[in-house]
């Protein structure tokens, strides 16, 4: 059974005075399994963030249903239970940190859940170790780099012991090193703690590392599957002005010219391995 289920979800903003409601999700159905790492990609305005915000009841469907661990997000009484299970990390780390010391910031979530102080202490330490920020526990958040801030924000979510973390473009404002730190952290949490991950991203090379890629376009799911299945559909993605990793594009174009190459290469190493046998001696 799926951990999160979106069942024929539609969502409309508004309407403002004298306006028609503006529908941004049209009949979207998607299941996310426990422990899965799912990348959600698409243009701005494709509905990917809107869909993801349904996964912890930040938004409620205008039509259809969303279930988290079997709980209906429309049920107001279950909202806290749902948010305890699914944490949300946003794009801008500066908007998410509230305290003046790193460990206090991480403690904010469990405090609000009414966790006992000794247990809070244990959770905060564990969470900071999990994101490799334990040595910074007494620092001021504003002095940290973007990647470090984002990891503290993730620690704040982990301290609430969620089953699932939804990350909405967590690397969009980070430099390459910060991006890698955050990605490594998220992959490790998925692998070692079994936390279900929904990663919204513009970066196709980030998506290539997920178990499953879901491509949103114009409020609908354009295609989904393993990264290999999705990125093999270069034509479809290009027709919708979506990128593929450069490794994928190179192999695809050379294959199109008649070279004997596999349908898809996901990263530089795969691409090199595919090209090597074709070199004239």
């Amino acid at each position: 059974m799926d951990y999160i289920t979106a069942d024929h979800v539609t969502f409309a903003y508004g309407p403002g005075e004298g306006e028609e409601p503006y529908e941004v999700l049209h009949d979207v159905s998607l299941g996310i399994r426990k422990g899965e790492f799912v990348a959600l990609v698409g243009h701005n305005g494709s509905g990917k963030s809107t869909l993801a915000k349904h996964f912890n009841a930040m938004l409620l469907p205008s039509g259809g249903k969303v279930y988290v661990d079997g709980l209906d997000t429309m049920d107001e009484d279950l909202k806290l239970e749902i948010r305890r299970r699914v944490g949300l990390v946003l794009q801008n780390p500066d908007n998410q940190l509230v305290a003046s010391i790193v460990e206090e910031d991480v403690a904010f979530g469990p405090e609000n859940l009414g966790v006992d102080p000794p247990e809070i202490r244990r959770r905060v330490d564990d969470a900071l170790r999990a994101v490799e920020m334990y040595d910074y526990r007494l620092n001021a958040p504003y002095k940290l780099s973007g990647g470090q801030k984002q990891r503290v924000a993730i620690a704040g979510i982990i301290a609430m012991q969620p089953d699932c973390i939804v990350l909405d473009e967590p690397t969009a404002m980070l430099d390459p090193r910060g991006r890698q730190e955050v990605l490594d952290t998220v992959h490790r949490l998925n692998r070692e703690k079994g936390i279900t991950i929904v990663l919204i991203t513009h970066y196709m090379d980030e998506a290539a590392g997920a178990d499953r890629v879901v491509v949103m376009d114009d409020g609908k799911i354009l295609t989904e599957g393993s990264p290999r299945e999705v990125f093999s559909q270069v034509r479809l993605l290009k027709d919708h002005q979506l990128d593929v990793p450069q490794a994928t594009e190179l192999v695809w174009r050379l294959r199109g010219e008649g070279f004997d190459l596999p349908e898809c290469a996901l990263d530089a190493a795969e691409c090199v391995a595919a090209l090597e046998p074709l070199f004239k001696s």
Partner: protein, 289 residues
């Protein structure tokens, strides 16, 4: 003659305190008139500090900045005019919009230069066209337009001053791939049509690869490379050590070269296809079969 030149330029934050940090360390570079220069470097490498010295927003601890051959600090009272000649677009420039209408906002720069209203408006409309802002948007409040449009309006405000050098600090941060491509294409078109010098600071190696003629690499406050874009990216392994990453396509060709294949690093997929085509064998027979 260089349009901009720095000589042993140095900037120190918190000089004389225990937190003293040399952010820019004896940087000597020349920016050629009309070139599109990319600036890359890890966070904390001194990029932002360096560019803020180029138009006199920060005063160097030592060293000089020459604009069209003249020291910009020769007469400190005239530093304001330097800011019209070296136009600076900061990160998230849309946060700085404040006027009643988009048009008035774009006019702010040229009017500050002392231009008459009609001339300022003419320039503003021309700048708006460069960045692809529709005429109908110009009468709206800056708060009624989308994030991408706000960014364009803010950039137009700097272009409207018709600077000799346009400096952009991460102009595409937070935009999606479509928005990023469009904006950079417009900046590139502006660069070509006006023949002005553009300095682009970016974390995106792909963007730099596509548009920059030359690249300046900063590391720990020092200028460690300044060369043609392809030559800089050919030194991908050195860049990795500085926390920078070359585009994936460049990485692929670097890996092939390291394995002994006669390829050289390129910057785009098209260039890679052109280069690999004659080197690869068609037909189903693979080596060792």
């Amino acid at each position: 003659m260089f349009v901009l030149e720095t000589k042993e330029l140095t900037y120190i934050y918190g000089a004389g305190t225990p937190f003293e940090k040399t952010a820019v360390d004896h940087v000597s570079i020349g920016v050629e008139r009309g070139e599109f220069l990319g600036v890359i470097g890890h966070t904390g490498s001194g990029k932002s500090t360096l560019i803020q010295m180029l138009n006199g927003l920060l005063k160097p601890a030592s060293g000089t900045v020459l604009l069209n051959g003249g020291d910009i600090w020769a007469e400190p009272k005239k530093i304001r005019s330097v800011r019209f000649q070296v136009g600076m677009v900061f990160q998230y420039p849309e946060h700085q919009l404040f006027e009643e209408t988009v048009l008035k906002d774009i006019c702010f720069g040229p009017r500050n230069m002392g231009l008459a209203d009609t001339e300022a408006e003419q320039r503003a409309r021309r700048a708006a066209r460069f960045v692809g802002l529709d005429d109908e948007l110009l009468g709206k409040s800056p708060f009624e337009i989308s994030g991408g449009e706000k960014r364009r309006a803010a950039i137009a405000g700097v272009i409207a001053m018709d600077p000799d050098v346009l400096v952009l600090d991460e102009p595409t941060a937070g935009l999606d791939p479509n928005g990023r491509d469009t904006l950079l294409q417009q900046i590139s078109d502006y660069h070509k049509k006006r023949g002005s010098t553009v300095i682009l600071v970016s974390h995106s190696m792909e963007d730099i690869a596509r548009f920059a003629d030359r690249v300046l690499v900063l590391n720990e406050g020092k200028a460690v490379m300044l060369d043609r874009t392809d030559r800089v990216f050919a030194r991908g392994r050195e860049l990795s050590k500085m926390g920078l990453r070359v585009p994936q396509i460049t990485e692929i060709l670097l890996m092939l070269r390291e394995k002994g294949y006669p390829v050289h690093p390129v910057l785009t997929v098209e260039q890679a296809v052109e280069q690999l085509r004659p080197l690869l064998r068609k037909g189903g027979v693979r080596r060792g079969q």
